[in-house]
């Protein structure tokens, strides 16, 4: 049995082209890019090429990209940089549905005396940019709003937020970890100050990320030490992974239009197929504004961990926002913020696709899933409620 991997918002398979580009820098070209000799210097040149490749993915200038160790570091850096460079300002605006990399850093700053505004989302998991107007004031240092949500795939109107902050001394950061490589991003059109990218979400390895910092943006480093990355991020470069991220960004950029069509078609086939074959299933999230690879579906009256473990028997990988899978006792903060009904909040399954998924794999899931759902519903004491709530 071969693995059917539908958990690409968690992490992705490193592309073979990426590994091929990286290998020489894990073997013969092991020089330190900061060294004066040619042996190290040739590595520096390749890092600069990778920087240009990552910049091209979001239509930035190469010097606006700095490499980090992961998406979380990029997010933490953006928030810390803002509050360090605007010392008098003690207010931050974000949303209730951010990734923990932003949310928990905001909680941390909250404990240090910062005032944090968490913007709500509606039942579709969408934010209202107008809410920002009332929330921002003279004390606001930074607004951090994700580009696309990792659980639902909902894309936020980041373009509409930027003009609201125009002319005010407020930084605007977006966590684009889930968006980069999946939808077009253009920092020339979307005037953010900072934007986070994570390598392993777009077929580069784990342990590499990038932060876009718009030219002219005041900046304060998070990791302090040597002069690497022009003093903006100390630490000897993760050379092979940087080169891998460059290659992954280039692959994503050149195939973007094609992949959006391909993944959108696969995803819609999966989603429609499941909605047709499984009664009492609902999609979580704003389907009109959503990443092409993500489907978040709640199967009512059953619990997500049980569904995942049954899927696991068929070597099918997905994820769930149920309490039992989060390691806590409460279901996902994103679904709770959306007020997903109590019959559905524990039974959410996220399928997230990549270029390596095939129609045959979707066929297998469509074949297996109705059986799993039916069996678990037969186990559930809420079968009667379900039938009572049936319409027709």
């Amino acid at each position: 049995m071969t693995t059917i991997y539908l958990d690409n918002n968690a992490t992705t398979r490193p592309a073979p082209e990426v590994l091929e580009a990286m290998m020489p820098y894990l073997t013969e070209f092991y020089g330190n890019p900061s060294s004066m000799h040619t042996f190290g210097g040739q590595v520096r040149k390749r890092i600069e090429e990778a920087r240009a490749q990552v910049a091209a993915l979001i239509n930035a200038e190469p010097e606006e990209i700095l490499f980090t160790s992961c998406g979380t570091e990029s997010d933490n850096t953006a928030l810390l940089s803002a509050v360090e460079t605007l010392p008098g300002k003690k207010h931050i605006i974000t949303t209730r549905v951010e990734h923990p990399a932003v949310l928990n850093f905001c909680h941390y700053l909250g404990r240090k005396g910062f005032r944090i505004t968490y913007l709500p989302v509606d039942a579709l998991g969408q934010i209202d940019p107008a809410a920002l107007d009332g929330a921002a004031d003279d004390a606001t240092a930074i607004v951090s709003i994700m580009f696309a949500n990792n659980e639902t795939g909902v894309i936020f109107p980041v373009e509409a937020v930027a003009p609201l902050l125009h002319g005010r001394d407020i930084f605007f950061h977006t966590d684009a970890v889930q968006a980069a490589g999946k939808i077009p991003l253009d920092v020339k059109k979307t005037p953010v100050h900072m934007l986070s990218i994570s390598g392993h979400k777009l077929h580069a390895p784990k342990g590499i990320g990038a932060l876009y910092v718009r030219k002219g943006t005041r900046f304060h480093p998070y990791i302090i030490g040597g002069h690497q990355e022009h003093g903006r991020r100390a630490g000897t470069e993760n050379v092979a992974s940087i080169i891998g991220l460059g290659k992954a960004a280039e692959l994503a950029r050149t195939n973007l239009a094609e992949e959006i069509t391909y993944l959108g078609r696969l995803r819609d086939r999966l989603e429609q197929g499941l909605l047709n074959s499984c009664p009492h299933a609902r999609v979580n999230g704003d389907i009109a504004n959503r990443l092409p690879n993500t489907a978040n579906i709640s199967f009512e009256y059953i619990e997500g961990e049980a569904i995942l473990l049954r899927l696991n028997e068929y070597d099918i990988c997905a994820s769930s926002g149920s309490a039992c899978t989060s390691g806590s006792l409460e279901p996902s903060h994103v679904l709770r913020a959306m007020d997903v009904p109590y019959t559905a909040v524990h039974g959410s399954i996220r399928f997230s696709l990549s270029r390596y998924n095939t129609d045959q794999e979707i066929d297998t899931v469509l074949e297996v899933m109705p059986k799993i759902i039916q069996e678990l519903r037969e186990l559930s004491p809420f079968g009667r409620d379900m039938k009572a709530n049936s319409h027709g």
């Binding site: 709500p120 049980a306 473990l309 409460e330 186990l379």
Partner: protein, 277 residues
Amino acid sequence: MWDYTDKVKEAFLRPKNVGEIENADAIGEVGSIVCGDALKLYLKIDKETGKILEARFQTFGCASAIASSSALTELIRGKTLDEALSVTNKDIADFLGGLPAQKMHCSVMGREALEAAIANYRGAPVQQSGAERVVCKCFDVTEDKIRREATANHLTTVEEVTNFTKAGGGCGECRPEIEKILLDIWSVQQPLKPLRPSKMTNLQKIALVQEVVESDIRPRLQADNGDVEIIDIDGNRVVVALRGICSGCSMSAVTLRSIQEKLRERVSDDLIVEEEK
């Protein structure tokens, strides 16, 4: 990924005794769909011998909840009701080769469903909701249940109590209270100090309100990324503003009520806590 034993996986993938029993002699129902797990146990009982002839279940929940339910029905089948009542949640977990610590509440749910079914059979009065003091409002866990499980399973930390009962696993506001219950169970009783002075001037009252808010209320809220600020104290009215994650939280009414309870307990019974308009 949870570290489940092969027995848990087997009981989850191929559970025994699933479904309803028509005209069951006893039904025990615990948990709810809101809380994320629920178990309905059906028993067929021999009136002469008091033996459980058949036990079946329906469970909404994760793999370990389903496996625990299956294990329970296998453990009690053929036993008399009194023998069945001696089955503990630990027996259920042991039958499955153990459960992950955070999943022990699934075995407790099994034991509770059994108690509920037998009480139902013996015609024990249905417990009035609200008659017992609820400590954990998120998961509706009573002080009685916390005391019972903590004593039976030798639970000495709040985290263990959460693993076994879910209490304290939601907003976390009741954790200090669980700590108090544990202290009461496991430590040598200290003579109680009077909690509040019998007579106070207005200024003393204001100072004490401030002290309680600073030393007791704010740290608990801050631990969950919330906060509160005193805006005004006017006679017996204490006007506060909720901050951080508490502001605009759908549970803010509960938070305000618990602040009021705490202030009444420590300062004066006539205090009224209001949110700033």
